[in-house]
């Protein structure tokens, strides 16, 4: 093993590997940061390129795009309140607040730092205990998935702002939207009025771009004619390490959550980011800071989503199971090269596997270097006159929404969601819970119904399985405690 590691380490540093890692990460950051163009789109576009490369170089290119893409989503989330990918939706909450306070540079830097640490953490886990984790991840069946999704949905309580009721209304609306289309169990179309496009369901990207980008464009367009009042001179704020240190614990914990979630096939970076944010909020002693520009919030969300990057390769490389779209494409890239991912890959092509895993460490280091340069450039976005920025953003949003499925239907959907995202917050209805509902709804519903099929209709299955029982318990506590606590503390106050 030692010799293999050293050989692989040397292999990574071949010039074409490094070159394609640089290319991949740069492409990824661009794709990730543009609204609508996600890491997945970038990886899919790069797939044909890998056919002409060696398996290792090809995979490193795809991994570069993937990691860069997941990180890149945070840039526009922070600067213009438009998450480039669904995985950075939680970054908007605090990132954009910091940008408004003129601390965009600081927010971007903590996002990069957290992303890189989480990426490295995840890659190391993959390298050293990948196969063991994969075995554990197989314990996640429908029951456990439902418990995890339920746990994720409790985040509604922490992002609802003033009114938890309004948050829940939006959350349920999101869940309702996720039921549109062909029912995952019986294959019957629901709420689709015989429309082929509605039958395939509401795609996440048009919803995301509409809720965030389009609503923000409408909002800003209303004041676009006013001269820019806030001070742009010093947005490139530095981030001293003393400010990072208090959040190291959050970053490491979120990296762990991201890695854990990523290792379970069928989850994804968006869920990891939501769970990490929720956890950071739950343990925080300074909850009021969340939603008003908390460095910890950004760090948790970004470490959570990049923690997924390495871990998602665990089921792919050890079991041959793609956990999401990106890994499905990577599986394709590997099979095209004659390397069938699966248990045999480690025995037959150990050199390739280890080079890929060590390459992932390099990808994250390259991401740090490129990210630092990109921040200097991207932070200037805040200086672009609104009259120029908005049309560009609008055009990009349209392209992004169209590009997901190559259909104008998604563009119309995006505009509808844009109106929802613009109007609802005006009445105090937050939009993040709606997105949570749309992201978690399909997992929650499918796994809930599968679990009941497996248990012959007995609901006890959720409590008799240990992993599921634990998650459901935490879910209940994290939802009920914030509601019950003020009641108890009031009681205490009354007594004294």
């Amino acid at each position: 093993m030692g010799e293999l590691l050293i050989n692989s380490f040397v292999d990574v540093f071949q010039i074409e590997n490094i070159l394609f890692i640089f290319l991949g990460v740069a492409t990824g950051i661009v794709f990730g940061s543009l609204p609508g163009l996600t890491a997945t789109v970038g990886v899919a576009l790069m797939l044909p390129v890998t056919f002409g490369l060696t398996p290792t170089t090809g995979m490193l290119l795809l991994l570069g795009v993937y990691c860069g893409g997941i990180y890149g989503g945070s840039i526009t989330a922070i600067l213009i309140r438009t998450p480039g990918t669904p995985a950075s939706a939680a970054t908007v909450i605090d990132g954009y607040e910091m940008a408004k306070q003129g601390k965009a540079g600081m927010a971007l830097r903590i996002a990069l730092f957290a992303s890189v640490i989480a990426g490295l953490f995840s890659a190391l886990i993959l390298l050293f205990i990948g196969p063991q984790i994969a075995k554990f991840a197989l314990n996640f069946g429908p029951t456990e998935f439902f418990a995890l999704a339920l746990f994720g949905l409790t985040m509604i309580a922490s992002v609802s702002g003033k009114s938890i009721i309004k948050g829940m209304i939006m959350g349920f609306l999101g869940l309702f939207i996720s039921t549109i289309g062909i029912d995952p169990i019986d294959g019957i179309p629901r709420v689709s009025f015989n429309n082929e496009y509605l039958m395939s369901g509401i795609s996440l990207i048009p919803a995301l771009v509409g809720l965030f980008a389009i609503s923000e464009i409408i909002n800003r367009a209303q004041t676009a004619h006013l001269p820019n009042t806030h001070d742009d001179r010093n947005v490139d704020t530095k981030l001293p390490f003393s400010k990072v240190r208090p959040h190291m614990k959050t970053i490491l914990k979120s990296s762990g959550i991201g890695t854990f979630v990523g290792a379970i096939p069928g989850t994804g970076a968006a869920i990891a980011s939501f769970l990490s944010y929720n956890e950071a909020y739950r343990v925080s002693k300074n909850k009021k800071q969340f939603g008003k520009g908390s460095l910890g919030g950004i760090a948790a969300s970004e470490a959570g989503n990049n923690g997924v990057t390495g871990a998602t390769l665990i089921p792919l490389l050890t079991l041959g199971i793609p956990g999401d779209m990106v890994t499905a494409i990577m599986l394709g890239a590997l099979t095209m090269q004659g390397l069938t991912p699966g248990p045999q890959l480690f025995t037959n092509h150990a050199d390739v596997v280890y080079t890929i895993m060590i390459g992932l460490l390099i990808v994250n280091i390259v991401m740090f270097i490129q990210g630092r340069l990109a921040i200097k450039l991207f932070v200037k976005i805040t200086a672009i006159p609104v009259s120029l920025l908005l049309p560009i953003l609008l055009a990009l949003s349209f392209i992004g929404a169209y590009g997901v499925n190559n259909t104008l239907f998604d563009v119309k959907l995006m505009m509808i969601f844009g109106v929802i995202g613009y109007i609802m917050p005006k009445f105090g209805f937050p939009i993040i819970p709606m997105l949570l509902g749309i992201v978690l709804g399909p997992i929650a519903e499918t796994s809930f119904r599968q679990a009941l099929l497996l248990s012959d209709g007995s609901w006890m299955i959720f409590l008799t399985k240990p992993i599921s029982a634990i998650f459901i318990l935490i879910a209940f506590l994290s939802f009920l405690l914030p509601i019950v606590k003020p009641y108890f503390s009031k009681k205490v106050e009354n007594k004294t």
């Binding site: 056919f51 082929e196 199971i321």
Partner: protein
């Protein structure tokens, strides 16, 4: 006043010039079309794939495009148009331009099973066949820790009270229909547990959450090699060449034949001479050593079918699948 009038005159001129240019463009199109028939292809081919990138359909098509492209000196562009079990992409394919440049990739399930289960906006006769690509049988598998070593062990469950939980890639797909039909014919108590795609269903079997799974060989073979999964039977009339030691259900007295096969088609109004050219181009490509090499590496088998048999065969299977679906109560249309 005068100025604005002049401006509107200018505007009118613009509109006129634009109209003229546009009509020229249109005549350009029509002349190109007649030219195209004599000398085809003169522009890139567009192939719509109704499934996501990375799957076995996507890979097969990309491998084929790599071979066809250089051969005809034009690029071959692949568009993934997934959604609603492939029916959206196929619907768009049925409404595509009949120029021969717009080709659709189909899998038999979406043509012969889905239309029985819900309304779709196309039928088999909307298309003309170009080339048959691959053939993937449906295989029944159990976890290696399972008590069932052979198909006979599973058939013997008839008299037990156990409810067998069987996983598959989604309602109405062949892996679902075959298992449903087998368990009902064998008189075994069983419950269908659908997953979103073959991968998740196989994963659930690996994790021990379900009792059986039906899937395609490419999804199962790696796990058979590692010893985690055992194959019990193939739902096709003959044994599959890559899995010679796995018996067919027919051998055990269950006449269930449902294999997925894939093909390229064009809209039915495409001129015959263009169709002939396309058939030549793609038949040469699927007979190339490169393509055969690709299939072998990926546990895929070619399908032996003449291009003009594609649509009649789809119609035939549409009828037979309809009967099976009716027997197990899944036929809605």
């Amino acid at each position: 006043m005068n100025r604005s009038k002049r401006f509107s005159m200018k505007k009118l001129m613009y509109v006129l010039v634009l109209c003229l240019a546009f009509s020229l463009l249109l005549t350009g199109c029509s002349s190109k079309k007649t030219e195209g028939q004599a000398d085809f292809p003169t522009q890139p081919l567009q192939i719509t794939l109704p499934w996501a990138p990375g799957g076995s359909s996507d890979l097969t098509l990309r491998a084929l495009a790599e071979i066809v492209g250089p051969e005809i000196g034009e690029s071959v562009n692949i568009t993934n148009r997934e959604g609603a079990g492939g029916t959206i992409g196929i619907m768009e394919g049925a409404n595509a331009a009949s120029t021969g440049y717009e080709i659709t990739f189909i899998a038999s399930g979406a043509m012969v099973a889905q239309p029985h289960m819900r309304e779709v906006q196309y039928e088999n006769d909307d298309f003309k066949g170009i080339v048959g690509l691959t053939y993937e049988p449906v295989v029944l598998a159990v976890n290696a820790d399972s008590d069932w070593d052979t198909l006979d062990d599973l058939i013997a469950e008839k008299n037990s009270n156990r409810i067998i939980k069987f996983a598959h890639s989604g309602a109405g797909g062949f892996p679902h229909v075959t298992q449903e039909a087998f368990f009902s014919e064998a008189g075994i108590n069983a419950e269908s547990v659908p997953f979103e795609g073959g991968g998740p269903a196989v994963t659930a079997l690996l994790g021990g959450h379900v009792d059986t799974v039906a899937a395609h060989p490419a999804e199962l073979i790696p796990h058979v090699e590692s010893g985690d999964i055992r194959l019990l039977g193939v739902f096709s009339p003959e044994r599959f060449e890559l899995l010679e030691d796995v018996p067919t259900f027919k051998e055990k007295g269950f006449d269930l034949n449902m294999s997925v096969w894939k093909a390229l088609v064009v809209p039915k109004d495409t001129p015959d001479d263009v169709v002939e050219k396309l058939r030549d181009i793609f038949t040469t490509a699927v007979n190339s050593t490169e393509y055969k090499e690709f299939l072998k590496k990926n546990s895929l088998a070619p399908i032996d079918i003449e291009p003009d048999e594609i649509v009649p065969r789809l119609n035939e299977e549409y009828e037979s699948t309809g009967k099976v679906l009716e027997n197990i109560g899944l036929k809605e249309y």
